[in-house]
């Protein structure tokens, strides 16, 4: 049995104060999955034992788990979609830091798609958390790059006519060396995934399937269910762990959600390569003298 640290201790060590919790956690819509994502991150950080000076969060625009503002870490809340680019600059400037981006599906994959795949391509040692709730929540429920085909959204009143991105496949192809998917139902595993992702040396992308009953569930009760409870139960009933999914046919996996760690490998990491270049340059080795 996994030992779970009491919430009171997590609150004391990882969160700022009751006022901020009320604002950023209590301020979310009823049933929002963001708070669970942030608490899983807080617990992973707590387990690793990182301190205030070790961690910087870079948060995108949109809901993208705004609850992170209630944590006691430095935070750079940036422009829509660009979080991996700021993270790249910060990581190169301060390689000792754990730089974690927290983005929604629209932020990471639509407006920020280019930055996401390039961070993965460079395999820079940052952790990208994509809070995938299948919808633009903050602006009131427009369809996004992960909204399933046929789902309804305020900007797709007749249903979405595009096929969605598979976040994990996309970043795996782009070169991320740690790729995983968790859910806000499978919290114990989510904490493990986040711990591994943060500790991984290279670009880690963690997709968290999260519920937005207000802007997604409500209009698409036939997809994951209409309420937070129904959506969480959908995750429970439809998630298949990667080791089990390996033995299942494409047909059997059709309506399922595969979760777990898909990629965990090592490849040259971008900042390490930059440091090597500094060494080479200072030894006078460039393309003319190698």
């Amino acid at each position: 049995m996994v030992k779970i640290t009491p919430l009171s201790q997590i609150l004391e060590r990882q969160y700022r104060n009751l006022s901020d919790i009320k604002t950023y956690v209590g301020g979310a819509c009823l049933g929002c999955g963001g708070g669970t994502v942030v608490q899983a991150l807080a617990r992973a950080i707590d387990r690793i034992g990182l301190q205030l000076e070790d961690v910087v969060f870079i948060k995108g625009i949109g809901c993208s788990a705004s609850q992170v503002h209630s944590l006691n870490y430095s935070i750079l809340r940036v422009l829509h979609g660009r979080a991996p680019a700021y993270a790249t600059g910060l990581k190169l400037a301060r390689p000792e830091l754990k730089v974690i981006t927290l983005q929604g599906d629209g932020d990471a994959l639509a407006i920020g798609g280019n930055h996401l795949i390039h961070a993965a391509k460079r395999n820079i040692d940052i952790t990208i958390v994509v809070n995938n709730n299948f919808i633009y929540g903050r602006t009131g429920g427009q369809f996004g790059p992960t909204t399933p085909m046929g789902a309804y959204a305020t900007s797709a009143p007749y249903g979405v006519i595009e096929s969605p991105f598979d976040v994990c496949k996309l970043v795996e192809t782009a070169g991320a060396t740690f790729v995983a998917r968790g859910t806000t139902y499978h919290v114990i595993e989510l904490i493990d995934i986040m711990e591994k992702g943060i500790l991984h040396h290279g670009c880690s992308v963690i997709e968290v399937i999260s519920q937005c009953p207000t802007s997604y569930g409500r209009y698409n009760p036939d997809k994951m269910g209409g309420t937070a409870n129904e959506m969480l139960k959908w995750m429970r009933d439809n998630a298949v762990r990667i080791n089990k999914a390996k033995d299942m046919t494409k047909e059997e996996l059709k309506e399922k959600l595969v979760i777990g760690v898909f990629v965990d490998t090592q490849a040259p990491e971008f900042n390490d390569e930059c440091e090597k270049i500094i060494e080479a340059a200072q030894a006078g080795r460039d393309r003319h003298h190698h």
């Binding site: 430095s74 750079l76 660009r82 700021y86 600059g89 910060l90």
Partner: protein, 378 residues
Amino acid sequence: MNTGTNVVLMQGNEAIVEGAIAAGVRFFAGYPITPATEILELFAQRMPQVGGKSIQMEDEIASLAAVIGASAGGVKAMTASSGPGMSLMVENIGLAITLEIPCVIVDVQRMGPATGLIHTSQGDMMFAKWSTPGGNEIIALVPSSVRETFELTIKAVNLSERFRVPVIILSDAHLGHMREKIRVPDQDDIEIVNRPGPTVPPEEYLTFGADEAGVPEMAPLGSKYRSEYTGSLHDKAGKYGPPPEERSFLISRLSQKILAHRDEILMIEKALLEDAQVAVLAYGVCARSAKTAVKLARAAKMKVGFLRPITVWPFPTDVVRQLAEQVKAIIVVEENLGQLVLEVERAAAGKAKVSLVNQYDGQLITPEKILAGIEEVY
């Protein structure tokens, strides 16, 4: 770069890189674009030699974003581009203003609109000031020689650190690719300014704790100080969405910290103005043609003077107003449809006649053309 004598032949774009290194810049992020590409290439060569890092990003949006990330982490950082890339950077210029992240942005101007042509232009003067939503003050410097490009790059870095602002250097295709002899100063003779660090203990630190025209103290990300940077309007603690009076306080402070310190920022070259009846106001590389035209006019016994704003933003309104009180006419020379001439007209407020001699075909304006303009109003 050190040749023993410290006198070297240097390209304008190279002077940006060497000036930046001298000023302590150790991070560059950019994207290829003519006529600024040499800056990216030379940073790629030079940064690792001095222990810094240079990265070619996926676009100019990401370039300035990476610069902001690096600078927020405590490393002096900059980027360089030209019109089409500057267009993409706009949202991050606004972010650097509101988050008060020191950084330098070089715009090696080319013709517009859109991709225009790669030939020279001064078409981005108003763009530099007004590109971002909100209409905030900005600092922009315009060099007119390779030597001055080197010096102004150092100055730009220092101003960005002093006031925690993005500073724009407005070079152009001519200057960027021009080679001139310059004397590189000894590093010990170069003034270096660093951002104000926190003077309070971590528990008392506010990310944006400054009064009306103040510059907040800046702790690097990843320290014992918790920073809360919110790109949206924020209170002194960095909290999103403050009440109306705190919104206007922030908007005002972001501009006032520049306007209240104009004496530290404004740089102007003046020549032959004592007895002048007509003044030629020019900036950037075409100010060199203008200066030659003024000398030709003097040789023809015309009392003509010369004024060159080196700092174009904030605009030296008071200086131009005084000039307008002295002379009967001000001739503005620029390589665009007429941009700073609007500022000159505003500052002159009818006290002197303001006329424009301009050209916007990608070619350098000649002294003869400017002289003809002088003769017309003299």
